[in-house]
């Protein structure tokens, strides 16, 4: 009943990596998609003229600062702002008494709570805010606010927080209902297993550590508010203001600006809501600019996580069972319960499975989705157990993955139990899909395209894996204390989600033939302003220079999840293409009627902005001629054409994933514990590559981010207060470009997605997960011992028993 797609190979990806343009042009005739154009804001970025939120000012703007909770858990019993208000230069103070007591929710349960409610749930939590003529005066005023607290019992350990006797952090209780995915019968899977391995692994918390910080500027005009801030989720941020303030969405305009980097940090954040409320109270535009320490200790972070479980396989390496319990700590305001089911699907050939995820609140900084959420932790646990099983059956890790990882047509189970489906069972969900879509949609809960197989095979060949891999736990060379070895890891992630609404986009074809795309996405360095334009330009038959993209203005951009969950290209790119297709249809109907003697619009095409009969460029007319013709006619019906998707996008969590497979060579100094990355190959299956330069950058960026988590990155929490002790870039160690192999290569997979724009899928999150697992395995092969993350020099030396 669902559409049977032909699984065709994608010629685009056969182009030699590094040779863009000509080759691909000849291969498949696309003029814009598949070409490595420089990003549209490259010059602005390198000349420093691109405006991030911290660079923005508006007239009559004043400065806000936030009073932060000095305790792990405390209720304000009395707050006296009179001394602060009396300070020269102070415009006003916002406390919880001024704030509507509505819960607001950030995307995908990254925050749930009131903007201010008189309770601090972690050291650094927002308690009040001051607006003043300068940041310095505002800070001085913050110090003059007298607060009396009732100190509440606090809990930092997420296992302790599960106890009914634990201090309760939220009215909803500390623990969410578990999110469970199961199939088959795990006891049967155990019985079938010739080998089993167990794990009990704790993961430290990674910080987004976004370079560039963030600010929020709010300005009210009457009862309407505009917010400028760097955000990946423009329309979700507007929704958050709506929930927090209870005002109509039509009165809220978010102008989302580029972020220096984000990785999930800058979606919608509570300090943005504070800026909105503070500006309303003081009747002046207010800018709250976070300093680096606030960015690292008062916004959010990756969860602390723990995996306990077992996996088993037969003697010939067939996974028979995965039985896993995984805990995540949500900190004060996170509300998430479903990290990391992507590995459930990636290792979906396991015959029987049971995964349970438990989201738990603690009196630590709020935790939220960071790039590759769950993949980097639960995914890493599963990869390690699979490695251990492969060792037991003496199987090459590449072959073990190919044998047990999902292929097109295989079942996807991750979304089976999702509440957002609004149906009690998968069967009911399927039954509720409208008849008219069934013929067009791919089969839900089954993988439509892509896999790790092809990138593993091609990657292994390119990396000379067979020559360089010396067996499990065996270095490929030893020179004194320096052990070298290779490793391989895989990762997968969704390609966007549809949980809170379907993606949309709008395009406007202007009278001069230029095209403006309006789509709600982030610009956190992933090139969306360029790749969305490439999709629209290709569809419309325009050169890239004729297309510009508005990504952040919620007054013009229709709703989408924004740039989260690897959503941007697959779901928003799909909407951009459909909107462009709609505008093109309208244009060709007018052109066919008025300029091509009532010919069939289906016989027309557009090339380089010229409308022409297919196959012939003679008698072509430019888009601007068509539009100006109808514009100058006072009986004409339009002066520009607006396009929007005519149909909904199928629910992509039920069929789309993107995949990463990465190969690394490491050198471990077994006397000091230092790990050096020597060689790197990152393979990526994202379907059609819209812009090879952009994707290469994104894949390497993900690999570096994963390498950081594997080797160094972790927040250190004070045992007594839960405060973060390394909220700075001196002691929170981010890898730099020079810490990563200079000659790292990227290889693109060969798949084509029948639904995605021009065959493309998502891209951003599989690379980080693959990197973590590849490096972990390589270190194991170098020293023969599994080291928990992060594999800092000291932790490695301890694992070797030398300290």
């Amino acid at each position: 009943m669902y559409k049977e797609f032909e699984f065709k190979s994608n010629d685009l990806a056969k182009a030699v990596p590094g040779v863009y343009g000509d080759v691909q042009d000849q291969v498949n005739g696309m003029k814009v998609v598949g070409h490595g154009f420089p990003v549209k804001d490259a010059v602005e970025k390198v000349t420093g003229s691109l405006k991030y939120a911290v660079d923005m000012t508006v007239q009559n703007m004043v400065h806000g600062k936030i009073l932060r909770c000095p305790h792990a858990h405390a209720r304000i019993t009395k707050i006296d702002t009179s001394k602060a208000e009396a300070l020269a230069g102070v415009i006003g103070v916002l406390t919880h008494h001024d704030v509507p007591q509505n819960d607001w929710e950030a995307a995908w349960f990254n925050y749930r709570g009131k903007v201010l409610d008189g309770v601090g749930r972690f050291v650094g939590d927002d308690l009040a805010a001051v607006a003043a003529v300068s940041e310095e005066v505002a800070q001085r005023a913050i110090e003059l606010i007298d607060v009396e607290y009732e100190i509440l019992a606090a809990v930092f350990d997420f296992e302790e927080a599960r106890s009914p006797d634990a201090p309760q952090i939220r009215v909803e209780g500390n623990e969410r209902d578990p999110y469970i995915v199961e199939w088959g019968d795990t006891s049967e899977g155990m019985a079938l297993a010739d080998h089993t391995v167990e794990c009990d692994i704790f993961y430290h918390s990674q910080q987004y550590a976004s370079i560039g910080r963030n600010a929020a500027i709010a300005e009210w005009m009457g009862d309407k508010v505009t917010l400028w801030t760097s955000s990946q989720t423009p329309t979700e941020t507007r929704d958050g203001i709506h929930e927090a303030l209870g005002i109509p969405l039509s009165k809220i305009r978010v102008m989302a600006l580029p972020a220096g980097s984000s990785f999930g940090q800058w979606w919608s954040n509570n300090f943005m809501m504070i800026a909105v409320l503070l500006a309303k109270k003081v009747r002046r535009p207010v800018k709250i600019e976070l300093d680096n320490e606030e960015c690292m200790s008062a916004v959010k972070r990756r969860h602390l996580e723990k995996t306990r479980g077992l996996m088993g396989c037969t003697a010939d390496g067939q996974l028979t069972v995965a039985k896993i319990d995984h805990l995540i700590d949500n900190g004060g305001y996170g509300f998430k319960d479903d990290v990391g089911f992507f590995c459930v699907d990636m290792w979906g050939k396991a015959l029987h499975g049971h995964y349970a995820i438990h989201g738990i609140n603690t009196n630590l900084l709020t935790a939220g989705c960071m790039r590759g959420v769950g993949d980097c932790t639960l995914g890493a646990s599963v990869e390690r157990m699979c490695n251990q099983l492969a060792e037991k059956v003496d199987m090459d890790p590449v072959e073990f993955r190919i044998k047990n990882q999902i292929k097109p047509g295989d079942e996807l189970r991750m979304q089976h139990s999702r509440d957002n489906m609004h149906h009690d069972s998968v069967e009911e969900y399927l039954a509720a899909i409208p008849e008219e879509y069934r013929d067009e949609w791919p089969k839900p809960f089954h993988l439509l395209s892509g896999s790790t197989e092809e990138i593993l095979r091609r990657g292994a060949k390119s990396f000379r894996w067979a020559e360089r891999w010396n067996g499990w736990g065996k270095p490929s060379s030893v020179d004194g204390p320096r052990h070298r070895a290779v490793g391989v890891g895989t990762g997968a992630h969704v390609c966007g989600v549809e949980f809170e609404g379907n993606a949309s986009a709008m395009v406007r074809l202007n009278p001069d033939g230029s095209l403006k795309v309006h789509c709600s996405v982030g610009r956190q360095g992933q090139g969306s302003e360029t790749t969305q334009a490439q999709v629209a330009a290709e569809e419309m038959g325009l050169s890239l220079s004729m297309v510009e993209v508005e990504t952040g203005d919620t007054d013009s951009c229709p709703w989408s999840h924004g740039s989260l969950a690897s959503n941007t290209m697959f779901r928003v790119g799909w909407a951009t293409r459909e909107a462009t297709r709609d505008a093109k249809r309208q244009l060709l109907e007018i052109a066919a009627r008025d300029m091509f003697d009532n010919s069939d619009p289906a016989d027309l095409a557009i090339t380089d902005g010229q409308v022409h009969i297919k196959g012939s460029m003679s008698d072509s007319v430019s888009i601007s001629e068509v539009l100006n013709m109808i514009r100058s006619d006072t009986l004409g019906q339009t002066s520009s054409i607006t396009g929007r998707p005519a149909v909904p996008m199928p629910p992509s969590t039920t069929f789309a994933r993107h995949f990463g497979a990465q190969f690394v060579e490491v050198e471990v100094d077994v006397d000091t514990g230092k790990i050096v990355l020597l060689d790197y190959l990152a393979c990526q299956d994202s379907g059609t590559v819209i812009n090879p330069q952009v994707l290469k950058n994104q894949v390497i960026g993900g690999a570096i981010c994963g390498a950081g988590f594997a080797i160094y990155e972790h927040l250190v929490f004070d045992k007594e207060t839960g405060a973060i002790k390394n909220a700075n870039l001196l002691d929170y160690k981010l890898l730099r470009a020079a810490d990563f192999p200079h000659k790292a290569e990227v290889l693109f997979g060969d798949s084509y997605d029948p639904v995605g724009p021009f065959g493309a899928r998502g891209a951003g999150e599989a690379p980080i997960a693959a990197s973590i697992s590849a490096i972990s395995q390589a270190v194991y092969n170098a020293i023969g011992v599994w080291v928990d993350l992060p594999m800092t020099p000291e932790r490695l030396i301890r694992a070797l028993g030398k300290v």
């Binding site: 310095e136 800070q139 001085r140 110090e143 006397d671 000091t672 230092k674 080797i711 160094y712 250190v716 002790k725 390394n726 001196l730 002691d731 160690k733 981010l734 890898l735 730099r736 020079a738 810490d739 800092t792 020099p793 000291e794 030396i797 301890r798 030398k802 300290v803």
Partner: protein, 294 residues
């Protein structure tokens, strides 16, 4: 809240010292400002007067003489980095500066500032102590010199007081070949040392080690020497030190270390690494002297 301060620009070293004497602890010298700005911003240092010495002349030269190398206190880290061709000891110091902060920051940061900041994890301190370097300090009346191993009083505290560190002198003893090596444990390409060590060996024509310097960083409030390790090496031939003796001298040095545990590393790890790094430094020194490990 950060302190407000008055900006002063002396026209001579002497005037700078007079200003410092006048305002005492409320005044701070400004050289590269790279550590100081951070300390001021974080309100660790609050001062009323900033004495900008960046314009003083004569303090930013590196002079290589027959009997000593003299490095002006205002020599930037990037200038020290570029002096690698001028002397083999400067080559090592150049390699050390490459580990410090970032290329951009190195153009501002100064040798004198790095020493005056008196961080126990400072990269330049261990090699200077290992080489028996001297601090040249300008006072109101003239100059006093202090051995580098007596220069530091504690974390961020030195013996300079209201005077001004003006240069560092590395003595080059007659008829001896002196080398210095440095190792540290760090994390990423831009980091401070979690723990570090430097050794300097001087050998005479008979290939005997006449003087050994062993300095250990980030294992005490100040960079310390390991006199026992030095004595262990002195008098040995550069061709007679064995692998097991390298290990032994590392152990001796690690016994002198008094590390603490902090957010960067544990005491146990630091102590263990002193052993590894000391042995590696000595091996590197013997290699450069043309000796062999037996």
């Amino acid at each position: 809240m950060q302190s407000h301060f008055e900006y002063l620009r002396p026209s001579s070293t002497k005037e700078a010292v007079q200003m410092k004497i006048e305002f005492g602890q409320r005044a701070k010298y400004w050289a590269g400002g790279t550590d100081m700005t951070l300390r001021w911003r974080r309100e660790i240092d609050r001062f009323s007067h900033c004495i900008d010495i960046t314009y003083l002349t004569g303090l930013d030269n590196i002079e290589v003489e027959e009997d000593c190398i003299r490095i002006g206190a205002l020599v930037s880290l990037s200038a020290l980095e570029r002096a690698d061709q001028r002397h083999h000891l400067l080559k090592t110091l150049s390699d050390v500066t490459k580990l410090m902060c970032t290329p951009q920051t190195r153009t501002l940061a100064t040798v004198g500032g790095n020493l005056s900041n008196a961080s126990p994890a400072a990269d330049l301190t261990p090699p200077f102590i290992a080489m028996d370097a001297l601090a040249e300090i300008t006072t109101e009346d003239g100059i006093r010199t202090v051995p580098m191993d007596q220069f530091f009083e504690g974390v961020n505290r030195t013996v300079v007081g209201d005077d001004l560190l003006s240069a560092i002198e590395i003595p080059l003893p007659e008829s001896q070949h002196k080398v210095v090596k440095y190792h540290r444990i760090d994390r990423t390409i831009v980091d401070i040392a979690l723990v570090n060590a430097s050794t300097s060996l001087s050998a005479d024509r008979s290939r005997t080690i006449t003087r050994a310097g062993v300095a250990l960083g980030a294992v005490a409030p100040i960079v310390i020497r390991s006199p026992a390790a030095e004595r262990f090496l002195e008098g040995k031939s550069i061709d007679s030190v064995s692998e097991s003796e390298l290990e032994k001298v590392g152990e001796i040095a690690s016994e002198d270390a008094k590390p603490i545990s902090d957010v960067r590393a544990s005491a146990d790890y630091r102590r263990a690494m002193i052993k590894v790094m000391t042995a590696r430094c000595i091996k590197d020194c013997i290699d450069e002297l043309g000796g062999t490990i037996s």
